[in-house]
Amino acid sequence: MSGEKHAHPAAEPLPGRVLEQTGVDVARCYQCGKCSAGCPLAAEMDYPPSQIMHLLQLAGEFPEFAEMALRSHTAWLCLTCEICYCRCPMELDIPKVMDALRHEALRKKKVNPKAKDILAFHRAFLDSVKHTGRLFEMGQVVDYKLRSGHFLQDLLQAPWMFLVGKLHLLPERVRDRRQLKRIFARTLKARENRP
């Protein structure tokens, strides 16, 4: 086992990569379940947080568990409300682990299909930021609708928001947009292109 690890550093098992990226040692989790008990969306998740932690604990030896964690809907449902981290008796930063899982799933193209809308929203959001430096709400919502296909959702809200002055038709822009493009090029884009 350990010999293999040294032979293929890229094949470091998932728990090790999580430790490296987040500093969270999943072995410390003793499965008390307090995170799942307090998680606002545990009931919607395929694997509540404590189960994700357990999947990660076993993922080193059982690749199928690593797969289950990566393809979970949970990672995308996590709201980063931090209540699990706040109450965890072992002080494990579970939201950070969820971040790491999302990044890994994106890179390996293993995003749970149910998370399509959430991902579309995030991408639309960042696209807006990439181009203007700030969030252009109108543009983003349109972009999101195109990506998600939910054309009719919220259609009735928009005119009202426009009326009360909450929606602008033109984006606000950052002056140094080239720099932002560089930041995006060196982070998100570079990462997504990496095998």
Binding site: Q21, P40, L41, E44, W76, L77, L79, T80, C81, E82, I83, Y85, C86, D93, P95, D99, A100, R102, H103, D117, I118, A120, F121, H122, R123, F125, L126, S128, V129, R134, L135, E137, V141, Y144, S148, Q153, D154, L156, Q157, P159, W160, M161, V164, G165, K166, L167, H168, E172, V174, R175, D176, Q179, L180, R182, I183, F184, R186, T187, L188, R191
Partner: protein, 294 residues
């Protein structure tokens, strides 16, 4: 002490009234709030969901700009932006290598000299705030902190993560009667406003239900996202719950403005989805659309 102001994207758009009320109040307090020069979006949930470095680089660029301008602290009224900026500062100051890498990304040597301050901290530091109160806001209010003002406790180091009190104390100064309720720090659904409206309706519904059942007349917030979910998404909440909620959701700065006797319109109260009106003694605040829904 030079304080910079980071409005964040929503305060320029959907949460315009938060910005309007803050600036109106600041004017009365005699505080100048210059914006952080050429600020960009903090990246919000989307950035840290998709890329770690990006999630740090975007806030780092903001903080570096504030630093360069010689700002000692940056006021970040949006709780979500506050969290991103605070987390970034914490992580970069903890890890020298990371600080160098991100500094490289944002093409500035970020040092961490500017502190990140939230709206409650900023207001709590104003001396004799109660002396400025002209019309005490004599309402039973549910102070809603949400997630990101108080968590993760080790990083934000503001108030206590369970049963926080700072906003309640501030409201009491303004003459309000903060109620003891159970959902002060529960999550409203945050970044799912658009992508998972169903979940927002569920979580925000629980919050309204608890506030209303304990006799609150208004929910006080310090976060545009919370406001969006609790106010703009009210139709979705009501649809899911199968009942009507009339309770208005008011920004902390709007309450302060009202207590100071500023005109409601200057505070942007007319922009709310749910009319800011109180039964029965007080008449509806003028200038607010009485029509509900759309």
């Amino acid at each position: 002490m030079k304080t910079g102001f980071y409005p964040g994207c929503s305060m320029k758009g959907s949460a315009r009234e938060y910005s309007e009320s803050l600036l109106a109040v600041a004017r009365v307090l005699g505080r100048e709030l210059p914006e952080v020069p050429d600020w960009n979006c903090c990246g919000a949930t989307a950035a840290h969901n998709l890329d770690h470095d990006l999630a740090l680089a975007l806030p780092a660029r903001i903080l570096a700009a504030a630093e360069k301008k010689g700002m000692d602290e940056v006021l970040v009224p949006c709780a979500a932006c506050y969290s991103r900026l605070k987390v970034t500062r914490h992580e970069l100051l903890e890890d020298e290598k990371l600080r160098q890498r991100i500094s490289g990304l944002v093409e500035a040597d970020y040092r961490g000299s500017a502190k990140v301050v939230n709206i409650i901290e900023w207001l709590a530091a104003v001396p004799d705030l109660e002396k400025l109160v002209k019309k005490p806001f004599q309402r039973k209010v549910a102070c809603y902190y949400g997630c990101l003002l108080v968590r993760p406790a080790g990083i934000v180091e503001f108030d206590r993560p369970e049963e926080p009190q700072s906003m309640d104390l501030l409201m009491a100064k303004l003459g309000a009667k903060p109620i003891d309720w159970a959902f002060k720090t529960e999550c409203c659904g945050a970044g799912f406003s658009v992508s998972r409206t169903d979940l927002v309706a569920k979580l925000s519904g629980l919050i309204l239900e608890d506030a209303v059942s304990r006799g609150a007349e208004a929910v006080i917030v310090a976060c545009p996202m919370c406001h969006l979910n609790l106010d703009l998404r009210r139709p979705n909440i009501e649809k899911r719950a199968g009942k009507k909620y009339d309770i208005p959701v008011i920004y902390i700065t709007q309450v302060l403005g009202l207590a100071m006797g500023l005109p409601p319109k200057k505070l942007g109260l007319q922009r709310h989805k749910v009319a800011v009106k109180f039964a029965p003694a007080e008449s509806p605040v003028p200038g607010v659309s009485a029509k509900r829904g759309a």
